[in-house]
């Protein structure tokens, strides 16, 4: 597998990445690489540093130490040239409550210099993809949790991103909504979009991820395919996760 990967483009490379919040070390010197077209998942307990890594990758936070490159570009230099090419689904609901569903997409497109003429047909297409077309004129406060999440996903796709960063994409969703989001993500992967996600759901990691990194206390404990991890440690992915993050299941 790694031999094949060497021939593929690296979308992300991180070397010696460190991030501190005052005295707290959130990310403690990690290295990883993400290949074009793969789905890579970060697993780990709350506070392990997953969200911080995501925020550094989409150039929201600058790293304190180390070198991080996305599409070969340094995240601390010309971040706008990276951000132009990525889509972000953040952990929090941050749709614009003052705007309708359609306007949310149109206004967001403008940050990418996509004017209304160009963004409107694109927005309708994405609303269809996200299965919320019939809600286009509705204020976002009237949407269900699953609809808001799908709208955020549609918004993250407005610039046709090559890389999609998803921070806990299905947390708080009911099983139907979760499966809908998974279907959408698998469809994007089939089109060649590189996916990077964090999750607390092992079945989500198994359903979507080609490789996972298990993080604990700011460090990467292991990186491998879910299949190899299960073969190596036995049980299921949840068992592997609990073992590697220091909380093994009682026999």
């Amino acid at each position: 597998m790694s031999d094949i990967m060497n021939f593929m483009d690296r979308v992300i490379t991180a070397k010696g990445l460190v991030k501190n919040y005052n005295s707290l070390c959130a990310v403690d010197g990690i290295d990883f690489e993400i290949e074009s077209g793969e789905c890579f998942g970060f697993l780990g307990p709350n506070g392990a540093g997953k969200t911080t890594v995501m925020k550094i990758l989409y150039c929201y936070l600058p790293p304190d130490e180390g070198e991080v490159r996305v599409f070969g570009l340094d995240v601390t230099k010309e971040p706008w040239n990276i951000k132009r090419r990525i889509g972000v689904l953040p952990q929090d609901m941050n749709l614009d409550p003052d705007l309708s569903v359609l306007e949310n997409l149109q206004v967001y497109a403008r940050y990418f210099d996509i004017g209304k003429k160009e963004s409107t047909p694109l927005a309708w297409e994405l609303l269809e993809f996200a299965e919320i077309k019939e809600k286009a004129k509705v204020n976002i406060l009237k949407l269900s949790g699953g609809m808001k999440r799908r709208l955020q996903l549609a918004r993250a796709l407005i610039n046709g991103p090559e890389l999609l960063v998803l921070d806990e994409p299905t947390t708080g969703l009911d099983p139907h909504s979760r499966h809908t989001v998974w279907d959408k993500l698998n469809a994007l992967k089939a089109r060649g979009t590189t996916l990077l996600l964090t999750t607390h759901y092992m079945e989500e990691a198994e359903a979507l991820c080609d490789r996972v990194a298990i993080m604990d206390r700011g460090k990467i404990v292991t990186v491998d395919t879910p299949k190899h991890l299960i073969e190596k440690h036995g049980g299921n992915l949840e068992h592997v996760y609990l073992t590697l993050t220091g909380r093994p299941l009682e026999a």
Binding site: K55, P62, R84, L95, D96, L99, Y111
Partner: protein, 250 residues
Amino acid sequence: MKLKRAYRVWQRHLAVYTKLYKSSIVLNFVEPVMYLVALGLGLGAFVKEINGVPYINFIAPGIVASSTMFAASFECTYGTFVRMTFQKTFDAILATPVGIDDLVAGELMWGATKGMIYGTIITIVISAFGLVDSVMIVLMLPFLFVGALIFSEVAMIAAALAPGIDTFNYYYTLFMTPMFLFSGIFFPIDSMPPIVAKIAFFTPLYHVVNVSRDFAAGVVPTWDLVWLVAAAAIIAPYPFRLMRRRILRG
């Protein structure tokens, strides 16, 4: 910072404003008119004239200045703070090519625009009431933008430092209200002990009031304009620096 990306943020605010203005514009317009009527006509019946000008004509240009101040200040205290914290609008914007400096510039430009819009509306109102002596009042409009920019900058410094939204009560009670009362809107400031005039000189509203009153009377102000342009430039780096620190604190 890139002006085009700042303009994208400004466009977002305009899109929201043109959608919602109907519910807010009346409120913003009623209060200054009430001051004008209550004090201009009520108190004016006793005061009659200040410096040879009928009392309501004396305060009218000052009300233009204070409307500008309050509109810009509300936008960049409560407005900015809500977008930054509760609505997480900033997080959404910062995941696009727009960076923190672009975002802050867009917020400031919008605050200045909104201040100018409200000042302009009140200018139209007082002109319609026949309280303005000179058409030169139109020359004041660009300087309303500069004045509103200063209020936006200072408000945004407060937004960057405020631990919670209630902190703005202090900002309004200890800073905005005294400025409103002691900037020469309702009485010439030189009728107060000299210390008041000395303090007033360092507040932006005092100069916006002077500029407004001069233009309304057909006089071209000089030093007050210099003061405003200089203050806007000198204060400008701080909202950028402090907002950056606040946002990156995580």
